[in-house]
């Protein structure tokens, strides 16, 4: 049995992990992301101040020993606000993207694989949702269900999956007629097994690239919605919101823009490194060394 398990040894995912662990940049990206996520999770315990704690007398001060990243115009500690903001931003980024990823891949794979009338119906639904004005959609949701951060994730995810579905569908349509899919058919494999084992793994390249692009765009979308008053409201914060306020006071208090900006950029860099690494790792055609 032990021998058998060892013999089964390698699969795409195991090989991918081995390759990823040899890719320094990707590991660096992964480490940064883990650090950011850990910090966000522990924020209520380790934050130096409360996120609402104001000190109106002090106002905006430059970085100092008490306030490492300075304070904003209400005298609130920027480090604390960035840490709390990271919780919201990362959550929006990952949850909304995960929603988009799951719905988009399944929707696109099913439409592309079965084709015909089912494909036509499924893609027309996508078209209709595309045509729906995004803002009105969100405002409606907010009006009907009340402002709720989870709803915000869902709403963003519900819009972002459309593009994912189209990308996956076009990939799948090209794969569907490949001989290895026909071989799987002639083995009598069920359609779902074929989609899961033969189709989806082969669409991963473009999906990963698109995912690493989606996460930052979702974070910025949240900032935009918050700016319009549809998302997070002060005194709560998110990176997007902090950057928006930072832009207003850029000339007098540049640190209000710079630090949240660095936090966002760091995340994006880390994501891109990791995404590139993943894409290479999941393609067996790139060498193992």
């Amino acid at each position: 049995m032990a021998d058998a398990i060892e013999d089964h040894g390698t699969s795409l995912w195991k090989d991918a992990w081995i390759k990823l662990s040899k890719n320094r940049l990707a590991l660096f990206g992964l480490a940064v992301l883990i650090m950011l996520i850990a910090t966000s999770l522990l924020t209520p315990l380790i934050a130096p101040y409360g996120y609402e704690t104001q000190n109106l007398n002090m106002g905006a001060t430059a970085p100092s020993l008490q306030h490492w990243l300075g304070t904003d115009i209400f005298g609130r500690d920027m480090l604390t606000r960035i840490m709390y903001g990271g919780r919201v931003s990362l959550m929006v980024g990952f949850i909304a993207t995960a929603v988009a990823l799951v719905i988009g891949i399944l929707w696109g794979a099913i439409a592309g694989f079965f084709g015909g009338r089912l494909d036509a119906i499924m893609m027309r639904i996508v078209d209709v949702l595309y045509a729906l004005p995004f803002m009105i959609f969100i405002i409606l949701l907010m009006v009907v269900f009340g402002r709720n951060i989870l709803l915000l994730f869902l709403a963003i995810g519900a819009v972002e999956w459309l593009t994912m579905a189209r990308i996956v569908r076009s990939q799948v349509m090209a794969l569907r007629n490949q001989e290895f899919v026909e071989a799987a058919n002639s083995l009598g494999l069920s359609q779902w097994t074929i989609i899961r084992r033969h189709i989806i793994p082969n669409t991963l390249g473009p999906v990963i690239v698109y995912t690493t692009l989606t996460i930052p765009s979702v974070m910025l979308l949240e900032a935009f919605l918050s700016f319009l008053g549809l998302g997070i409201q002060p005194p709560e914060s998110s990176w997007g919101l902090l950057i928006n306020y930072g832009v207003e006071t850029m000339e007098e208090f540049p640190w209000l823009l710079i630090f949240p900006g660095i936090a966002l950029s760091l995340t994006l860099f880390a994501l891109n490194f990791l995404g590139d690494g993943l894409r290479d790792a999941l393609d067996p055609r790139t060498s193992k060394d």
Binding site: L12, E179, F180, E182, N185, S186
Partner: protein
């Protein structure tokens, strides 16, 4: 005097994994009106040799490391980019392998034909559109395009493969080149079309007195067309000489191996005791596809009749060869029998059980009894699954193996198809074409099927590899007592492997019979034409054959 004289040509590819000597110290010469054939298997450097003369190689990674190529006394390798353009425009033309991709689909063929005349780099030679069109139409006539004046304004997709290759030839000749390089010009074509194109090239060469370099892997084609032959392997010349010398009196081991690998003559294995049991029974099978292009046409044109009323029987233990040209419906028939393509009418019975009309679920137990081997070993394996996963999938899915026995069963399969067990963890791209086809065969026999359809299993492979795979298939058929339908366009291969042959054309069966009986005395005109078009790897016989057509 030789029009082209190549001396000590060296082309190396500088890749991340080291230097690949694609062409290493190659020398040859071609005279006017002479045909030099360069023969070799894939990766032998035959195409690289010719492309380097025209500066058509991607640089990097390619680099010309040495040698000269004197064309009319001027060194092609040393000339500047603009001189090279002059040469390409005036003196040297190329015909590529695939006529489907070497024409621009967005321009009419006329526009593409006259391009070199009206945009000539030498301003004094620029022709007006009217003059250029006159030249082009005359040339289209010469290469055998009927109604050339009207066809001048057609787009490439309106031509068949053979017609496109004729257009390509016209394009190559329009600047009156002194040297014509043909890179496998007939490999993508059907055998009867191939015969026509070869005759055309030969005729044009004689009337125009051009020198031809003919790159090919097919010794039969070479036998008929070449004056001199150059055999290449691994970037070096293995042998060079007159066609007759090379075919009849070669001393070179590699050339002998190539010649020996050509499937020729009758089946070598004895016929097995044919059982009387009918395993596969196809009655009045029809597979129609909706015609996407002509939607508003009559009832008649509404469907493409890929398989039109075909009935045949395959006895247990028999190898049935199914022969036809592209578009004859042979692959669709195979897929219809396996219920991989939806059938329109008629029935398929597998040892008495009717398969047509069964649902996908009902078919599952039958699927493991009939398997398929596909043509393209590069497309038929999932690139993201290791060999182990590919081979274990059917075993586990059909419950033939459990997690405890799977390792030994997969190893057994690897042994069966002649692959080393150390390669189980590799991905398909790490294998050569022949090895990939072995993996695909392993997958097909994994479920211990009774019936296998092999759809052109060797046509994407080099000739020496082809012989090995054919022998492997015969061996497995013998050992596992398989019944097989062997689909191919290559008549020599079919004759080598099959007990009985079915000839298909335009969706219907033209003729069927025992292989040797049919070869000796074909009844139908189409079969005769097909048999007459096979190139023979015997220069004297091949010249006689061409002269007789």
């Amino acid at each position: 005097m030789a029009i082209l004289e190549v001396n000590g040509l060296k082309v190396y590819f500088h890749t991340r994994n080291g230097v690949v000597k694609a062409v290493d110290d190659v020398s040859f010469s071609v005279d006017r009106g002479e045909t030099l054939a360069i023969v070799g298997e894939s990766g032998s450097g035959k195409s690289v040799t010719c492309y380097s003369l025209l500066d058509l190689l991607p640089k990097p990674p390619a680099r010309i490391e040495g040698g000269t190529a004197l064309f009319d006394g001027k060194d092609l390798l040393a000339c500047s980019a603009s001189e090279m353009r002059q040469h390409r425009c005036n003196d040297i033309a190329v015909i590529f392998q695939d006529p489907m991709t070497s024409l621009n689909p967005f321009l009419t063929i006329g526009e593409q034909l006259i391009e070199p005349l009206i945009y000539h780099p030498d301003r004094s030679q620029i022709q007006t559109r009217v003059e250029a069109k006159r030249t082009a139409v005359a040339l289209l006539d010469e290469v055998g395009i009927i109604d050339s004046h009207a066809r001048f304004d057609c787009y490439p997709h309106e031509f068949s493969g053979g017609m496109r290759q004729r257009v390509m030839i016209a394009m190559a000749l329009i600047t009156e080149p002194k040297l014509l390089i043909c890179d496998e010009p007939t490999t993508a074509l059907d055998v009867t079309i191939q015969a026509q194109i070869l005759r055309l090239i030969k005729k044009l060469q004689e009337t125009r007195n051009v020198a031809v370099i003919f790159i090919s892997h097919d010794l039969g084609v070479v036998a008929g067309i070449a004056d001199k032959v150059l055999v290449m392997c691994d970037g070096t010349i293995r042998e060079t000489g007159g066609t007759d010398d090379l075919f009849y009196r070669t001393q070179n081991e590699y050339t002998k191996k190539l010649l020996a690998a050509i499937p020729e003559g009758a089946k070598t294995l004895p016929h097995r005791a044919k059982s009387d049991e009918i395993l596969i029974e196809v009655t009045h099978l029809k597979t129609y596809f909706r015609n996407q292009l002509n939607t508003n046409n009559s009832e008649e044109n509404r469907y493409i009749k890929a398989v039109d009323d075909v009935s045949l029987e395959i006895a247990r233990g028999e190898i049935l060869g199914l022969v036809g040209e592209s578009g004859s419906g042979k692959s669709t028939l195979g897929r219809s029998i396996l219920q991989l393509a939806p059938t329109t009418e008629g029935s398929v019975k597998f040892s008495g059980q009717t398969l047509t009309g069964l649902t996908a679920k009902q078919l599952v137990p039958w699927r493991r009894k009939m398997q398929m081997i596909f043509q393209d070993p590069y497309a038929s394996l999932n690139p993201r699954m290791t060999v182990f996963e590919t081979l274990s999938e059917p075993l586990l899915y059909h419950g033939i193996a459990t997690w405890t026995t799977i390792a030994s069963q997969v190893k057994q399969l690897m042994d069966d198809v002649g692959l080393s067990q150390a390669q189980l963890r590799k991905y398909p791209h790490e294998f050569s074409g022949g090895q990939r086809q072995r993996i695909a065969i392993g997958r097909a026999i994994a479920t211990k099927p009774e019936f296998i359809i092999a759809d052109e299993p060797v046509s994407a492979l080099d000739v020496t590899i082809q012989a090995q795979i054919l022998d492997l298939i015969l061996e497995l058929v013998e050992r596992h007592n398989l019944t097989m339908m062997f689909i191919s366009h290559d008549l020599s291969v079919v004759r080598y492997i099959s007990d009985r042959v079915v000839i298909m054309n335009r969706g219907v069966i033209v003729e069927q019979g025992d292989t040797e009986t049919l070869w000796a005395a074909p009844k139908e005109a189409y079969t005769k034409e097909l048999l007459a078009a096979i190139p023979l790897a015997d220069p004297a016989a091949e010249r006689k054959r061409i002269a007789n057509i």
